[in-house]
Amino acid sequence: MESFFAWFRWLYDETGINLPFLYDSYDRARMLSGFYTTVWLSAICLFFSVIIGIVGAWLQGSPYKWTRRIVNGYIQFFRNTPPLVQLYFFYFAISSLLPQVTTEYGGSAPLIGNVAWAIISLSFFAGAFNVEIFRSGIDAVPQSTVEAANSLGFTRLQIYRYVTLPLAMRVALPALNNNLVNLVKTTTLAYAIAVPEMLYVANQIWSDNVNVPEMMVLLLISYIALVGVLVWAMNTWERKLKIPGFGT
């Protein structure tokens, strides 16, 4: 393995193609941790945004006018404002209104840190789109199916849980797939509030080594690989869930 890494040092000396994240153990550790942070951040935001989507779509079908209005207001607000400004708004503005906590070193730190704000902000942003996606899936469930469940004595929650959602999920999957890909790409915004994800770490490395083109290519390849894995997983899931005769 060491000789493999050493080869890249030779490559740098010979050709000037500088890939410090391969031959330098410090940069390698940084890059790996950045990659890991991106994967982890994406996974958590994915999870919460899907939860928000499912709950939001259920609330949107609520018989109470104000519940529906609040959910619609939430969707339109998060869909029509820039995610970066949302992130800044949460991290700088909302955070400044929250109380400070004392750290173990005696200093003061914000109650919610940058990583947590990134998770909250990105989840709500992607969640707003997910609500719409799940709602369109629910709209596609035949009325007669819901009526049949109703006549069998299912409650509203039970219908949603056992009948509407499993069917709606299948219709919504392609759009959901698209939005989750977008979410993975949007995690780069966390760069702006110094979350040490891949872009942030790559920026540190190219600042130290002045090897912008190489790091850029690495970044693009890494993100496309991440998105590729996600799309592959979602497509596999979509095929597994497929019911003959339902949907397209």
Binding site: P63, R68, G73, N80, F89, F92, A93, E147, N150, M216
Partner: protein, 292 residues
């Protein structure tokens, strides 16, 4: 629809003569408060939150400092010029992205397998890379000036940011074009062929005119997304509205109570700009929807 027609027929309870009224959980969506049937009151809501929060923070801050409102009024012209700059970047990036993307999209449906392959992979590459990374790519790797026939053409940073934003737009437009062409029934192609149209004639005179209607709503949607993405340029140092907001905050001495109103104001502006576009998109989608 049975419940609704019952109600419309003058039966206020909406119940039917024979069947019990089936309580549909989503029946309410069809009446009044549909998923897209929203009103300007949401904008008003944000404005109200903005006003209340700024008033509350001012009350906390005490009267020694200039009031939040006077600060906001003082800086609004500067910030709004920054916002207009964002709009300019978005329009230019959209124009570039649309022209190049349309060509790429037509490449994706080319009969030549090589052109199709290149079109497909270029589209997928730029569609699946993060916007911010592409922006960094253009900002750091494009030269700040270049020589064109003996003249030195400067390339300011906002121009590079425009190119950086145009790249993902290009890929998305390419997908929109490909999707619209593929969504047309193949009978259109076959009918044109039987009438002895050439491929070019079929595309320009028969297929694309029908596609414009289908492409318009997603294209407008993309424009709204692009407008919201222009603030990314602040991360790479273009002095648009977000950068100016940071500078205004610094100029006012880093007052904590200014954070909420200032950022809320920027949010409000973007909402007021993007929300009508979103509404209009939905109207067009409904208008052009084909009942199958």
């Amino acid at each position: 629809m049975s419940t609704r027609s019952g109600a419309e027929a003058g039966n206020p309870s909406g119940s039917l003569a024979v069947l019990h009224n089936v309580k549909r959980p989503d029946a309410a969506w069809n009446e009044g408060c549909g998923p897209f049937r929203l009103h300007g009151r949401y904008g008003l809501f944000i404005a109200a939150v903005f006003l209340v929060s700024s008033a509350a923070t001012w009350a906390q801050a005490g009267a020694a400092q200039p009031s939040i409102f006077s600060v906001l009024v003082k800086w609004t012209p500067l910030l709004f010029s920054g916002f207009l700059f964002n709009i300019l970047i978005s329009v230019m990036a959209m124009a570039i992205g649309t022209v190049v993307g349309a060509a790429l999209g037509l490449g994706q449906i080319s009969p030549n397998p090589m052109v199709r392959w290149v079109g497909y992979y270029v589209t997928q590459f730029f569609r699946n890379s993060p916007w911010l990374v592409l922006l960094f790519f253009c900002m750091l790797l494009l030269p700040f000036q270049f020589n064109l026939g003996g003249y030195t053409v400067p390339l300011p940073d906002w121009m590079k940011a425009t190119f950086g934003l145009a790249l993902p737009v290009m890929a998305n437009v390419s997908e929109i074009v490909r999707g619209a062409v593929n969504s047309l029934p193949s009978g259109q192609w076959e009918a044109a062929e039987s009438l002895a149209f050439t491929r070019r004639q079929t595309l320009w005179r028969i297929i694309l005119p029908q596609c414009i209607k289908r492409m318009l709503p997603p294209w407008m949607n993309l424009y709204a997304i692009l407008t919201m993405a222009t603030v990314l340029a602040s991360i790479v140092g273009v002095s648009e509205v977000m950068t100016l907001t940071g500078e205004v905050l610094a100029a006012e001495g880093g007052r904590g109570d200014l954070l909420v109103p200032l950022y809320a104001m920027i949010l409000l502006w973007f909402f007021l700009y993007c929300y009508p576009i979103a509404r209009w998109t939905v109207v067009l989608e409904r208008k052009y929807a084909v009942n199958t």
